[in-house]
């Protein structure tokens, strides 16, 4: 079984700073890490491939520094790592990104399953995985919490929904996005790291994957960010220190006033 896991480099959550003027994330200079939710996709893929003597290919699109997260995927046990990097990809939205990744997957060739994380912790859109499935025209199941059976080309999975769980049967090849519940990610090992040090990371650009230049980068991205606003905290707080009888009465009266105001508008 050949499984492809698209992963993403994200800013470390503790290091994220917002630009107060544009309201966007300042990515440059902040420490980067593998999207924590992608670890569950990698773990799921590694478990499946261990069971079926298969292989796992990790794929990412990003600047050259994104090689770091591919090394981590290799240390965990992935057998192949591909970095899609080209200035032409810069500024891609989820539409252009999923297009580029789908072209890279076509270039990889045959696969049985694509597994993605639920979403990336920076953009939070959860659109790229489904986008890839659409471009490749394969079955898609999101929010998978368990893989129950795989018999021949048929897979039965459980999907987490707001109401509970949904049992879904799908035919491979397919793309699934997984939630945290599905597995506990392993830690990378020294053995894995040494293997990773000896495994070259394949670098591909737009030409390698035969991407239509009009569909990638800022030009290929239909999304336009018109305005970004941070919600203002409208509520105000009053603090009444009630250390003796007198001040306690005042504070309680004020509290009653506030409750009445809220009730009667």
């Amino acid at each position: 079984m050949h499984i492809i896991v698209p992963i993403k480099q994200v800013p470390q959550s503790s290091a994220v700073k917002m630009d107060p003027v544009t309201g966007t994330m300042i990515r440059s200079g902040s420490a980067a890490t593998l999207n924590p939710l992608d670890l569950y996709a990698l773990e799921t893929a590694l478990c499946l491939s261990e069971r079926s003597a298969g292989s796992v290919t990790a794929l990412t699109m990003g600047p050259p520094s994104a090689a770091q997260i591919l090394k981590e995927a290799l240390s965990m046990g992935a057998s192949r790592a591909i970095l899609l990097t080209d200035r032409l990809f810069g500024g891609s939205d989820t539409y252009a990104t999923s297009y580029a990744l789908s072209k890279a997957i076509e270039h990889i060739g045959s696969f049985d399953l694509i597994i993605t994380g639920e979403r990336a912790t920076d953009g939070d859109t959860a659109q790229v995985g489904p986008g890839i499935a659409a471009w490749l025209d394969v079955a898609l199941v999101t929010y998978v919490s368990a893989i129950n059976t795989i018999v021949d080309r048929t897979m039965e999975v459980e999907r987490l929904t707001e109401e509970g769980y949904q049992a879904v049967r799908l035919t491979l090849p397919a793309l699934i996005s997984v939630v945290k519940e599905i597995a506990i990610p392993r830690l990378p090992t020294l053995r894995g790291k040494k293997r990773a040090m000896n495994t070259p990371i394949e670098e591909w650009d737009a030409r390698t994957i035969g991407a239509d230049i009009g569909k990638i980068g800022l030009k290929g991205s239909p999304t336009r960010v018109v305005k970004i606003e941070s919600p203002k905290v409208a509520r105000t707080a009053e603090v009444h220190i009630a250390s003796d009888e007198d001040s306690m009465k005042g504070a309680v009266d004020r509290l009653i006033d506030i409750i009445e105001e809220v009730y009667h508008g």
Binding site: Q12, T33, I184, L187, P188, L190, R191, K193
Partner: protein, 471 residues
């Protein structure tokens, strides 16, 4: 009968005059929190008569002058995260909590120093410094709660001491209020100073018995750009510990070599709901390497990992990114808290031995555990020879039985550590209330008399955190 004057309404009035009514607490439910620290509350807890939260060094000095005039015992308090009962007001009286003195006074990037008040949370200090690329490398495990002043008063160690040393390495200067209420400034921004007796070093680790540290000037160093963590399971604790002296000879100075026996690791994992592979594991080492050159750190990581493999490691897990590193460190940091939840009555020990003697400590702990029929999970800073063996009260035992047996176990343990191995009874948690009897027993008379003479010279009325360290 104590030699101390009881707190009267008139004294409360004077305290209010000094630091205003909102900084003087007397209501029982508000001062209860100041009656204990992180030692077992069931065993060590004394209510203060009044808690004051001054907002300046001058106010602290005025309170001390008042206490000196009336002979009132004063107990200084940081975050209350101490592990030896140092902040417990044994004779009641006044607790001075430094919690409102948490300002940064000056960041001097050119001289690589920061001057701050004693009540700042150590972690917040480093958060403030982050943008300068500098940090205070004193690193107690309770970094999210403990105060700078407490770090200094206890000379806190922690998980990075092998490479970065303990708190005392970084204290360049301090402002102290003496038991008589005088404000003295010791040291400064200089890195060398033999201009007199080194009073500053004397105050470091004095546990509030010689005066109150109100401000400190701390030496800063550059934040290492890269750090990697290893988690290494071994089949036996002996195997794991045997790696430590060998590692130290490698020429690589790791930031941390932390030891966790199976029981501590298991309790912490279950507390955190963490699942790390445990099958057949007898003990774990947590190691960290850091530096400014990624390639060098990677080479160190591989070298340390390979040595562990040669020494029989079952696996070498590595964490090179922040998320995985935090996942591993969380387990180590949560042990004390997790054991506390597991059994609130316990004796968290802090013995320290020369590093080559570490392998001898564990079989002895096993022997003690068998002899008394109690569990003794053990973890700690193996690279410093500093182990936190934690003697846990059997839930079936009555408190009376525990109180009878606990000193016996400790006496056996300390006799072995000090007598046989040339170790000490506390590496970083201090003596406080918890170990003072043992200090008296284990310190030669001439030395103990010197300690008492010193204390008398500083505090003739014995009002400054009385009853701590010495009896």
């Amino acid at each position: 009968m104590t030699p101390y004057t009881p707190i009267t309404a008139a004294i409360i009035e004077e305290l209010i005059t000094i630091c205003s009514a909102s900084n003087v607490l007397t209501e029982r439910d508000r001062i209860e929190g100041y009656s204990h620290d992180e030692t077992s509350k069931e065993q060590y807890s004394v209510m203060p008569d009044v808690v004051v939260t001054p907002t300046s060094t001058e106010q602290v000095a005025q309170i001390m002058r008042l206490a000196d005039r009336h002979t009132i015992p004063v107990t200084p308090r940081g975050a209350g995260s101490g592990l030896s009962g140092g902040a417990i007001p044994l004779f009641g009286g006044i607790v001075i909590s430094l919690e409102k003195m948490n300002r940064i006074i000056e960041i001097d990037e050119a001289n690589l120093t920061v001057t701050a008040e004693a009540g700042i949370v150590t972690n917040e200090l480093n958060e403030h410094l982050k943008d300068t690329g500098l940090f205070f490398a004193g690193y107690p495990m309770s970094l999210e709660s403990c105060f700078l002043g407490g770090n200094i008063a206890e000379n806190a160690g922690g998980g990075k001491a092998i490479k970065y040393g303990v708190t005392s390495r970084y204290v360049l200067g301090m402002t102290v209020v003496t038991p008589q209420g005088q404000i003295v400034h010791l040291g400064g921004k200089v890195t060398k100073d033999v201009s007199s007796y080194d009073l500053k070093q004397l105050y470091i680790g004095s546990e509030g018995t010689l005066g109150i540290i109100c401000e400190a000037t701390i030496k800063l160093i550059g934040i290492p750009k890269v750090a990697s963590t290893l988690l290494v399971p071994f089949q036996s604790a002996q195997q794991a510990i045997a790696v430590v002296p060998l590692l130290m000879k490698q020429g690589i100075i790791p930031v941390s070599i932390e030891f966790m026996d199976r029981l501590s690791f298991e309790i912490s994992c279950s507390y955190l709901n963490e699942t790390l592979p445990l099958s057949g594991v007898g003990a774990m080492l947590l190691l960290e390497v850091d530096g400014s050159d990624a390639a060098q750190v990677e080479a160190d990581l591989v070298a340390v990992g390979e040595l562990c493999e040669e020494m029989g490691a079952m696996e070498v897990y590595i964490a090179e990114d922040a998320n995985n590193r935090e996942r591993i460190w969380a387990v180590r940091r949560a042990i004390a808290e997790a054991i506390k939840v597991y059994s609130p009555v316990q004796s968290l020990e802090d013995v320290v031995v020369p590093i080559t003697s570490i392998p001898q400590v564990l079989p002895f702990l096993k022997e003690l555990s068998d002899r008394y029929g109690l569990q003794i999970p053990c973890y700690g800073h193996a690279g410093d020879g500093n182990l936190h063996a934690t003697i846990i009260k059997d839930p079936e035992w009555t408190m009376e039985k525990w109180l009878e047996i606990e000193p016996k176990i400790l006496r056996d343990l300390y006799a072995f550590i000090v007598g046989k191995l040339g170790g000490k009874i506390s590496g970083e948690h201090g003596i406080g209330l918890k170990r003072r009897e043992f200090v008296k027993e284990l310190t030669p008379d001439a030395e103990y008399e010197l300690l008492k003479t010193l204390k008398r010279a500083f505090d003739p009325k014995n009002i400054m955190n009385p009853g701590k360290i010495l009896i």
